[in-house]
């Protein structure tokens, strides 16, 4: 009951947030010079002024900005994201098609970074100043400083071209028409390198945050108390320290989930992964404003949802917090 009220309240609060983002995006985007008609005509080599007028009229670009805004807002209220004239397709279906690959990539990378990162942080902290700690610190520093696109390209050279273990790019083997588990295996092979390229940076961050956080917790009185009760070191760690130490990591992860959407643009481009990131980049390049606004809207909703989820995780981890 309490949970339902909390959720209802938070959802209500998020409406003005999302609305604000929608309005702000609309006007920000219109500050960019050039429009979709001129890009399309530019790609065509040459076009007549009549043709460009025709395009502008079709795209609704000949309307005053206030009218365009009104139309846009009205559409949004019906949850209609509009039409991408460049792609000759409704914005909603374009985004939905790309949401699964991006979601798969993000979740895989996120989960891997979170699990492995926390574990490494824990291992490093428990063996402070040992060779394990030094090694993990070194690796995470390198991972933190390596640009994702470079790492991606190097992995392609090594694992796809030299060793031939993994495919260079794409979502699955085109034209193979795999089904069932064959398809899962195929997608999995394609997923490995982009997921690693995307995860490594975050993995390093979580490892470092976790290490610091654990070290802070082990000095606390409650740990001394637990030890005094005669609990084993392992029990102290898993039952007491871990839960508390995870809080800063979860906070960090919540903030970075939004970044992950942005960070995936580069990795998606390198690996030709058909996700929302490349869609957004192309939409910006071609001034496909309806599509771009649609992606912004979906991303904003995602970030709001993730923040809500993080708050719920807090409560699970720390019973002292209340909804």
């Amino acid at each position: 009951m309490r949970l339902a009220r909390f959720l209802g309240y938070r959802l209500l609060l998020s409406i003005p947030v999302v609305l604000g983002i929608v309005v702000l995006n609309f006007f920000l985007i219109h500050l960019a010079p050039g429009d979709a008609a001129s890009v399309l005509a530019g790609e065509s080599g040459a076009a007549s002024p009549e043709y460009m007028e025709q395009l502008r009229h079709k795209f609704g670009l000949d309307q005053p900005l206030a009218t365009q805004f009104g139309v846009y807002l009205l559409n949004m209220l019906h949850l209609d994201l509009g039409y991408s004239f460049r792609n000759d397709s409704p914005v909603g279906s374009l985004i939905v098609d790309r949401l699964w690959p991006t979601g798969l990539l993000m979740l895989t990378a996120f989960a891997a970074a979170l699990v492995i990162g926390t574990l490494l942080g824990l291992v490093a902290a428990t063996g402070r100043n040992s060779w394990r700690d030094a090694l993990i610190s070194l690796v995470s520093l390198v991972a933190y400083a390596t640009p994702g696109f470079w790492l991606g390209l190097m992995m392609i050279v090594v694992f796809a071209i030299r060793l031939g273990w993994l495919p260079t790019s794409g979502y699955d083997t085109v034209g193979a028409d795999n089904e069932g588990w064959d398809e899962v295996w195929d997608v999995g092979r394609h997923l490995v390198m982009p997921a690693v390229a995307l995860a490594l940076f975050y993995l390093a961050v979580y490892a470092r945050v976790m290490r610091a956080s654990v070290l802070e917790q082990v000095g606390m009185d409650y740990v001394t108390t637990a030890r005094a009760k005669g609990q084993t070191e392992a029990r102290v760690m898993t039952g007491h320290v871990l839960r508390n130490a995870l809080l800063p990591v979860v906070t960090m992860a919540g903030v970075q989930a939004g970044n992950l959407i942005g960070g995936s643009i580069v990795v998606e481009t390198v690996f030709g992964w058909p996700g929302v990131g490349t869609l957004a980049f192309n939409a910006l390049q071609s001034r496909d404003l309806n599509l771009l606004l649609g992606i912004f809207f979906v991303s904003a909703c995602l970030v709001v949802a993730i923040n809500l989820a993080v708050d719920l995780v807090y409560v699970c981890l720390d019973p002292r917090l209340e909804l």
């Binding site: 960019a32 010079p33 050039g34 429009d35 001129s38 890009v39 399309l40 005509a41 530019g42 790609e43 065509s44 080599g45 040459a46 076009a47 007549s48 002024p49 043709y51 460009m52 025709q54 079709k58 460049r86 792609n87 000759d88 397709s89 374009l94 098609d97 790309r98 696109f149 390209l153 392609i156 050279v157 796809a160 071209i161 031939g164 495919p167 260079t168 790019s169 794409g170 979502y171 085109v174 034209g175 481009t269 390198v270 690996f271 030709g272 058909p274 996700g275 490349t278 869609l279 980049f281 192309n282 910006l284 390049q285 071609s286 001034r287």
Partner: protein, 539 residues
């Protein structure tokens, strides 16, 4: 005397000539027996926004669209028209009517038979109205008559000899009338799901990934095509495109989808090979445009000085990695085959070019200041790829040598196009200009006074206006006599090279990278932009 073609004679010649020409052209290997089956993966970059190449002439669409749509003709290596959907044709002595006898027994992918009504509808209702090259190429087309279902007659207001060069599926494709009739052509669903007569049928388009084309089992040319399937893959990153070729995942990358910088590495890969064939009818130049309204650039001497100051060989070597040739004037050397190119123009690549440049600038009233600088200009960097930034950096350095300080300005495509072609807010611009199948396309849109059209991209933005050139370009378009036509265009090239409204840098040469297992992929001068009907995969 009317030019006629005998269909039986020609088709035999075509069939005999093609595999032979190929073996010599593509890989140098002995012609082997083609094998049926297999999937060919080609890389197309960037991903097209639409497959409606009848309305959008972006260069990345035809590699896909020409597998589906065919034209009335194809072209042999000498760029002469050969029968395709038209089995023969006759040009009237006055050059004002062209009568096409059509191939019978051809059906569209939706099962509808192909007739002269489709030709009539394609030319008059679609191509003439929506094709971006139509204002030039089809300007003289008045009507298409259909005396019977297998005869189509193009009626022209004036002779238009260049039309015979533009009848391929790339330039003037034939579409199915019943698909379009009564609909808004630009909104027609077939823009993304093309329906043609070609050897491959459209199967699916996964946005951001690939377009799949499947073998047309009822293709009208017996036994063709050999491949079961063509997949056009889209990979946004240049390094990954190269990697896909090196790993053998993709078999063909045409139209320079692989960066010039990577070609040397591709060459050493045992599974890959390169060819520059198949771009004979795709002439293009990279140029440096000068804003003719700028107080300095409006002086001919200053423009010529800039032309002298630039060493095209450096650009060829360091920017184009040796692919292409230094441009000599406003037409690419590719027009040599048609007899229209001349290098008998003012030469800018001379040993004492820097002295001449400095002298011209002094004479033009632009002396060096205390810091050695004469004046400053902005150069708009072409946004279509990394190589253009490299070229811009060289141009900056070259012009600094004669005392012109250049500031580079990099903006994204939409901003760049708006600045140059709508606001005219530029000094120097380095576009890449396609010249089409006939000079009438490339020269007219760049140099006719009537082509100074605010807001229209890649037309006359240098404000060049010369009544004599206007007159000769007009005559050149209508002149049916090949020799007289060549003489007119020679004169035009000489005047333009003298006036230098823009600096011609490089005659561009595209390159195809292909897997050695893929055979007979480049069978004519249109290369990637014609159907892979004879291509096959060796095991």
């Amino acid at each position: 005397m009317p030019r006629t073609f005998d269909a039986t004679d020609l088709s035999r010649r075509t069939i005999l000539a093609l595999p032979l020409g190929l073996a010599a052209a593509a890989s140098g290997a002995r012609a082997a027996e083609p094998k049926r089956g297999g999937t060919m993966v080609m890389i197309v970059h960037p991903e097209p926004s639409t497959l409606a190449h009848y309305a959008v002439s972006a260069g990345n669409i035809p590699p896909i669209a020409t597998q589906v749509y065919e034209g009335l003709c194809t072209y042999d290596w000498d760029q002469n028209p050969q029968p395709n959907l038209a089995k023969s044709w006759e040009v009237a002595p006055d050059g004002k009517t062209i009568t096409f006898k059509l191939q019978d027994g051809v059906t569209f992918h939706n099962g509808k038979p192909f007739t002269s009504a489709d030709v009539q509808y394609s030319f008059m209702e679609i191509l003439k109205k929506y094709n971006p090259i139509a204002p030039v190429m089809l300007a003289e087309l008045v009507a298409v008559d259909t005396p019977d279902s297998m005869t189509a007659v193009l009626r022209l207001a004036n002779p238009a000899p260049y039309i015979m060069k533009a009848l391929s599926g790339r330039d003037l494709p034939i579409l199915c009338r019943s698909v379009f009739e009564g609909t808004d052509v630009l909104q027609n669903p077939s823009a993304n799901k093309p329906i043609g007569t070609g050897p491959f049928k459209f199967a699916s388009w996964e946005r951001g990934q690939f377009v799949r084309l499947d073998r047309n089992e009822s293709y009208w040319k017996p036994g063709l095509p050999y491949l079961n399937r063509i997949v056009a893959r889209f990979i946004p990153d240049a390094a990954t495109r190269s990697a896909a070729m090196e790993a053998g995942e993709a078999h063909f990358a045409g139209y320079s989808a692989v960066n010039y910088a990577d070609l040397a590495r591709m060459k050493t890969n045992p599974i890959l090979d390169l060819t520059t064939k198949g771009y004979e009818m795709t002439p293009a130049q990279s140029v440096l445009e000068l804003n003719g309204r700028h107080p300095h650039l409006q002086k001919k001497e200053v423009r010529q000085a800039i032309a002298y100051a630039i060493d095209r060989k450096v650009i060829l070597k360091d920017v184009m990695f040796g692919y292409g040739q230094p441009a000599t004037g406003p037409l690419s050397r590719k027009f040599k085959t048609a007899g229209l190119y001349t290098d008998d123009v003012r030469q800018y690549d001379v040993p004492d070019r820097l002295d001449i440049a400095n002298r011209l600038l002094d004479e033009a009233g632009a002396p060096r200041g205390a810091d050695g600088t004469r004046f400053a200009l902005h150069l708009e960097v072409n946004s279509f790829g990394e190589q253009w930034l490299r070229q811009a950096e060289y141009l900056k350095q070259a012009l600094a040598g004669v005392g012109i300080a250049v500031t580079l300005r990099s903006e994204d495509t939409a901003t760049w196009l708006r600045r140059v072609y709508t606001n005219y807010d530029y000094d120097l611009n380095e576009p890449f200009l396609s010249q089409g199948v006939d000079p009438v396309y490339g020269l007219n849109k760049q140099f006719l006074t009537s082509q100074i059209r605010k807001g229209v991209t890649f037309v006359n933005d240098t404000f060049y206006s010369n009544p004599e050139v206007d007159r000769m370009l007009g005559e050149g378009a209508r002149e049916p006599d090949a020799e007289k036509r060549a003489a007119l265009y020679k004169k035009v090239q000489q005047i333009l090279a003298e006036d230098s409204p823009m600096i011609w840098l490089i005659d561009v040469q595209y390159v195809s990278v292909f897997n050695r297992r893929l055979k007979d992929h480049t069978t004519g001068p249109l290369g990637t932009q014609q159907a892979f009907e004879r291509a096959w995969m060796d095991k």
